[in-house]
């Protein structure tokens, strides 16, 4: 799975884009966020409060209860500020 991080989430995780292999425990976006959170301080900070995190699957906005699968492009970012 390809994961993208934007703006403050990129700053906190220190990662812009990465390819990961999903552990079997990850079924939804919420599961994915929980797993990412365990990967270190930056990730813990980035996903500390999911109310401030937005997500997209394959470039469409998605809520955290939506299932994810290998092959998806998932993105995490803060609420947009507009142009």
């Amino acid at each position: 799975m390809k994961i993208l991080y934007f703006a403050s989430l990129k700053a906190k995780t220190g990662v812009g884009a990465e390819d990961v292999t999903l552990p079997a425990s990850v079924a939804t976006l919420a599961d994915l966020a929980a797993w990412l959170k365990s990967r270190g301080d930056g990730f813990a900070e980035a996903f500390a409060d999911l109310r401030t995190v937005r997500a997209a699957i394959n470039q469409e906005h998605a809520e955290f209860d939506v299932p994810v699968k290998d092959g998806d492009e998932v993105a995490f970012f803060p609420p947009v500020t507009g142009g």
Partner: protein
């Protein structure tokens, strides 16, 4: 109908001339140009980050929505990303229609959406360093005007 997201600056005259070239069906063209505002003190530069691909799709979707709500003969959105200084152009919205009301309202609708809902994230640099800007409540109020 066209949507472009680019790092490069755009030229308003060039875009307008291309938009209207050879047409006699347009009674009016409404434009809005958003600029980086700065008092020279608090904000010295602004960077817009975006999600290439997703951004263009969302901009195309909102342009299609504007065409559904108003009678437009043509529309254009040019949005810059990257680092910009005070005075620089950020975004251009242009709408053309037979009657001015359609183009004016559609232009207002599009820029309200772009300024509040478009998938961009703003990083501002000032004398104390830089920070990612939080989403604003007041701008959401402007979008609500349009029944969202």
């Amino acid at each position: 109908m066209a949507v472009r997201v680019q790092e490069a600056d755009f030229d308003v005259g060039t875009e307008f001339n291309r938009f209207t070239q050879g047409r006699v069906d347009l009674g009016g063209v409404a434009l809005f140009v958003g600029l980086v505002r700065g008092d020279g003190q608090s904000v010295s530069a602004m960077t817009l980050e975006h999600y290439p691909g997703m951004t263009e799709r969302q901009l195309e979707a909102i342009e299609a929505e504007a065409r559904k709500r108003w009678k437009l003969d043509d529309a254009l959105i040019v949005h810059r990303a990257g680092r910009m200084l005070p005075g620089e152009r950020i975004v251009l919205v242009m709408t053309g229609s037979a009657h001015r009301k359609d183009s004016l309202e559609a232009c207002h609708f599009l820029i309200d959406w772009l300024k509040t809902k478009a998938p961009f994230w703003k990083f501002e640099e000032g004398p104390l360093g830089g920070k990612w800007v939080d989403a604003k409540e007041t701008d959401d109020a402007a979008a609500k005007r349009w029944g969202e």
